[in-house]
Every structure is written in C-alpha cells, then in structure tokens.
C-alpha cells in the first residue's frame, strides 16, 4: 500500500471527504438560490421600468398624438444606455426607434423575450437578448418598449466567477485538511501498532504512548495500558503459579515414586506390598485434591461458575458449616461459637461460599490453638449484614498472621510454616479469596488480638 493510499484509507480522511461533499453541495445550493433570487429581482426591476416607460409614452400619445410620441421616443432613444424603443405603423413599418426586431414580435402584444440588434450602427452584428412589451395604440400604431438583459447577465457573471473559485478553494482546503488530519491520526495509530507489535513479540512491559492531550487516543491508550497492566499481572501470576505447581506437585510425585520403588526393592510380604500400595493411593488422593482445588480456584477466578448463581440464606450457610465443624473443634479442645443474624438473603453460589467458609473454619481449627498465655482457645463464626455487605467472619485465638504476610497468604500454595509439617496444600485461603472475588466481594484478614479474623465480605444484591 502506498503512503497516499494508506492516508486515503484512514477513517479520518473518509469522514473529511464525506463532510466535504456535503458542505460543497450545500454551498452550491446556497449560491444557486441566491443567483436565482437576484435574477428574479433584476427581471422584476426591468418589467417595472418598462411598464413605467410604457405608461408615460401612452400619456404622451394621448396628449399629443402620434407626432408627439415620435418626438419623445426619438429624444429618449438617443440617450446613452437608453431603453429599447420602436414605434411602427399598423403595417409594421418602423417610424422611429433604436432597435430592429422580428416582425412577429410586433404582431404579438404583451411581454416577450427576444433577440435584437441596435439600429443605430448597422455594422454591429452583435445580437442581444431583451425583455420587451408591445402595445397597440389607437390608429393601429404599435409601440414597443424593452430593456436589455445585459444587467442580468453581468450579475450572473459576477456571481458565477467567485462561486467557482469558492468551490475550488473549498475542495482544495478540504482534501488538504483531510490528508493532514489523517496523517496525524495515522501517526498516532502507527505508534500504537508498533508498540502492540512489540508487546505481542513478548515484551509485556511495553506501554502505548500517551500524548498527554487527553484526547480520545489518550483515553484509548490509557485503557489499553490498564488492560496490559492486568494482563502482565495475570501472566506473572500464572508464571508464579506454574512454578509453584512444579514445586508443590513434584514433591508428592517424587514421594509417590520413591514409595513405589521402595516397595519393589524392600517388600518381603504381601502385607508390605499392601501397605505400600495403600500409601501410594493416599499420596495420589492428596495430589488429586490439590488439582481439584487449583481447578476450582482458576475457574472461580475466571468467573466461569457465574451461571449457577441463585438466591440463598447466608446465615443458613454459616449455621450449617458451623455445625459441620463444631465437633471437630471440640475434639481439639477449642470453644466453638456460631452467632448468626437470621436470615441474610444472598445471591451467589451457595456451594462455593459454603466451601470458602468451610476452608476458613478448617484453618481456624487447624491453626487456632492459643499460643498466648491466659487466652482460651476459641473459634467464633459470625454472620451479619453491615454496610450493604454480608460479612461471614471466622475468628480464632491462635498465633494469627503477621501483618506483612497477610497479602502473601492469599496466593496459591503459600503456607506460613516452612516445615510443611501440617496437612494442607496452602490453597484454602486462595480459594476463599477467589470465591469472594467471584461474588464481587473480598476476603479480609485482620488481627483478632491475638489470632486471625478472616471475613468473607459479599455485597448484597441490589434490587
């Protein structure tokens, strides 16, 4: 594509061209309208002049007969720039006048438009157009008075010439302006295309240029940049997750393989083999659970389960999850309290919210043993409505999570004990956070002085 072809193809140029055509047509229309009206004005002036002249000559005729008329006409016809006059007998022979006209014109009384020649200089072959009026006088004399169209034609020329220039100027200005604007637009677009090509080539840190003028291109660039920011964040997240997956799934896979090898090498009896196989199945079940949790998180993050949202009572979820875990807490010697504000109508995926809350309760029970002297172990599940949000809170009295780690624990596979001695893949809080985000809400982690207070904050559906 040539540079000009590219310019002509731009939207800016096309818009300019369309406006140009519309504007030119409009301008031509106005000029034509003006010309027409001016001409009509000129013609009506001519007829008025002719009428007045005709009246005065008729008066002269009435007063002084044909002789007086001939005298007056003769005088008037001599004046420079005079009207056209002709007096003939009933037979059509000219008596006095300054024009030669075809005979049939004289035979037709009233207005007509004719071609004529000036009588005074016979060498002049110039034929002009005129508007004439013929009247039959008593005695069969015919009187013709007329006026040349010269004025009208001159006016037409005066109008036509600048109009042509104006239209030509308009077209040149329009095309030039169109090309100029198109070039400017094209330059911005080319810059954007270049940057996005670079980004597509793998440099995700690239950003589109922003001119700072706040125009629509800047707005577009800003929003695309925000999108790139998000994509870059997601890509970094994906990379981090795949690194984590590689690490966290390889560990149990290695254990699995070692166990199988160990069994082959060292097992003596059927009981040994059986035990080794059982351990292998345990290990693979743990792997499956981790995969399921990962899948669930990524699907919640992608918003895929949004299709299965329904109305349910969040207080009921808090109650049933609480009731499910209560014996477990008691078995660990933790006091377990469920406080609910019934009912809390909520719109979402009951299953996922239930699971998210269960993860929080499970965490609280697992990590809720008090470490501060004088503090009794307790897990408190609370549901209430506050500030347009449903808050499902699980609070424990355990060691809690240090300030600096609160954001980090929401990431996948992050577990605070480096020893990894306790069960769990470190996905519980990530899933709870993903579920909260899916519902347009948040997972809040706060200090319970001592302990952790985790809250699922879900916005109440607006009706």
């Amino acid at each position: 594509m040539t540079a000009l072809g590219k310019l002509v193809r731009t939207t800016a140029f096309k818009i300019v061209a369309v406006y140009l055509i519309i504007f030119a047509l409009f301008a031509a229309g106005i000029i034509a309208y003006l010309a027409r009206h001016t001409q009509q004005l000129v013609v009506s002036q001519i007829t008025e002049t002719v009428d007045a002249e005709m009246r005065s000559l008729q008066e002269e005729f009435t007063v002084g007969g044909i002789n007086r008329l001939v005298d007056v006409v003769e005088t008037r016809a001599q004046q420079p720039g005079s009207n056209l006059y002709l007096v003939t007998t009933f037979a059509g022979a000219a008596i006095v006048g300054n024009v030669e006209v075809p005979n049939e014109t004289l035979g037709r009384p009233g207005w007509s438009e004719i071609s004529y020649r000036r009588a005074e200089d016979p060498d002049d072959r110039h034929v002009s157009r005129a508007l004439v009026r013929v009247t039959v006088l008593p005695g069969g004399f015919r009187l013709l008075v007329g006026r040349d169209f010269e004025e009208r034609d001159r006016l037409r020329q005066i109008l036509a010439q600048p109009a042509r220039w104006a239209v030509a100027f308009l077209v040149i200005l329009g095309v030039g302006g169109g090309l100029f604007i198109a070039r400017r637009v094209l330059k911005r677009i080319d810059a954007m295309t270049e940057t996005s090509d670079r980004i597509m080539a793998g440099d995700l840190s690239g950003r589109l240029p922003v001119a700072g003028s706040g125009d629509e291109f800047d707005r577009l660039a800003n929003s695309l940049n925000a999108m790139l920011e998000r994509i870059e964040g997601l890509m970094t997240g994906v990379k981090q997750v795949s690194d984590n997956i590689a690490h966290d799934l390889k560990t149990p896979l290695t254990r699995l393989r070692n166990q199988a090898e160990e069994a082959l090498r060292a097992s003596k009896s059927e009981a040994d083999y059986r035990a080794a196989l059982e351990a292998t199945i345990d290990e693979s079940d743990a792997l499956i659970r981790t995969f399921d949790a990962l899948l669930m998180i990524s699907r919640a993050e992608a918003g895929e389960v949004r299709t299965h949202m329904a109305d349910f009572d969040a207080a009921d979820v808090a109650n049933s999850v609480g009731e499910l875990y209560e014996p477990l807490a008691e078995e660990k010697g933790l006091k377990f309290v469920v406080e609910t504000d019934p009912p809390l109508p909520c719109h979402g995926n009951r299953e996922l919210i239930g699971q998210a809350l269960a993860n929080l309760v499970d965490n609280a029970i697992k990590h809720g043993e008090p470490v501060t002297p004088g503090i009794e172990g307790e897990v408190r599940v609370n549901s209430r409505l506050q500030g347009g949000r449903i808050l499902l809170t699980v609070a424990d009295r355990g060691p809690g999570i240090p300030d600096g780690d609160r954001k980090r624990v929401l990431e996948r596979f992050v577990r605070l004990e480096t020893s990894r001695s306790r069960p769990g893949a470190g996905l519980g809080l990530s899933l709870a956070a993903a579920v909260a985000h899916l519902h347009g809400g948040d997972l809040l982690l706060e200090d319970n002085n001592p302990g952790l207070r985790a809250t699922l904050a879900i916005p109440v559906p607006s009706r």
Binding site: I281, V305, L324, L328, G428
Partner: protein, 276 residues
Amino acid sequence: MAAPSPPAVASFPGRVVLTGHPPDLYPDFMGGPNLRNSASANPSSAGRTQMRLLIVEDDLEAAEYLRKALREAGHVAELARDGEEGLQAAVDGEFDVLVVDRMLPKREGLSLISELRARGDTTPVLILSALGQVDDRVTGLRAGGDDYLTKPYAFSELLARVEALSRRTAPQAADTLYRVGDLELDRLSHRVTRAGKEIPLQPREFRLLEYLMRHAGQVVTRTMLLENVWDYHFDPQTNVIDVHVSRLRSKIDKGFERTLLHTVRGAGYMIRDGAR
C-alpha cells in the same frame, strides 16, 4: 423398569460430587484375587442382591477395570463404547443402574441420558466425568442423571453410590419407620428408640441416622453423607464426618451389646444388624 422414582430418593436434590477422598478412602480390592476373601474390605459383596449394570465408557481399559471390579463385588456389567451403542443397549436391555461417561464418541453422555428420559426410561444413571466442578454437576443432574462422580474416583465410592442408586438394593426408601435390629427410627414423629428406650438426637444427628438407616446394609461413604445430610459437595479435607459419626455411634451403640453402626475400612460406614 419404567416405574417412577420413589419420592424419598427424589427428595435428595443435590446428590453427588466427589472432589477428592479422605486419605483412608481407597479401594481395598486392589489386591485382586484376594478380594473375595477379605470380607471386611467389602462386606457389601457378601449375600447382596446381584445388580445388572451398563457401563458406557469409551476408555476400554477403564471400562474393563470397572467391569472386573464390579464382578468381584458380585455384580454383572455390560460395556458400551460410544453414546449410540450405549443408548441402544440401555433401550434393549434391562439394567438396574447405568454408569455413563460424559465425554463419549458419537453421542454425548448427557444427550444419551436426556434421550433415555425423553423415552420415559427412568433407570437410575450415575454420571462419570472428568469435569468435576459445581456447575458441571448441576448440568449433569439437570440432564436427568441421578448421581455424579468425578474421575478419578475410588472404586469403593462408585460401588457405594451405584448400590444406593439401585432400586433393587435400596430397601427402605418410602417407609416411615426404619428398623435395624432393635434400633427404630420414626420419620414422622422424629423419635429414635433402641430396645424400646428413647435416644434423644440433635436434628442433624437424626438426619445422619435417617440416611444411614435408609441405606441399611449398604456402604455409605463420607462424601455421600456430606452431600445428603449437609447438602455440600466439597471435600472437607479433614475428618469432620468421622467425628459426627462417632458422636452418633456413642449415642446409639454405647451400652448395647451389639454394635449396629460399623466402620467399613477404606470405604465408609454401614448400619446393619450384625446377625443378618
């Protein structure tokens, strides 16, 4: 075959999803030939009604494995390798339960089930799928499936669910009074008595016992209990169900000579009269 589902079965809307298994829930029959000898590992195979099943699965190895395992559990299974073959077999044959994979050649698993239901066939269907998320399960059950199990699954889980689905082996679905040995549960008055003595139960404990007794003599897995008693389909990660069952056990079995609520190692729980 075309009998309508018993209302008691239909009253459990969210029946199954398995997103994982507690660590001790694995198939014990992996030992192969020893299976028949290890009665404790699979008590349901002893003296149980034989079921006829149709497995619609395009993975031949998985299907053969399943057929073999079902045969060892005392049931007969036929195989169909694609959706069309499966539909034909289901229409022609008399089966107690269909086990249908979701992703099948020629005709999708869910389409097969919808077609069967459209023809008025109400044979219980267990959907097997690698897609295990909440919404997939809902889609599956809406298409007319009765239960949903995610791959990979423990065979003990599949067996327990298939047996719970089969009308021939699901005994007390419609009764108002469940009885196992000298334990009685009245579903109308919500009273539970053992040897004539009333046992006070919490509402959830009552529902737990009710579900166990409806499936008396059958293995009931932890996930089945979580789904049917609590209506949650996630994997609780910890042994929450075990704690609930042991509480219940202490109420109904403590102080009595004969134990009714048994733990089936590697599978789940079963309530049964030991003398049976």
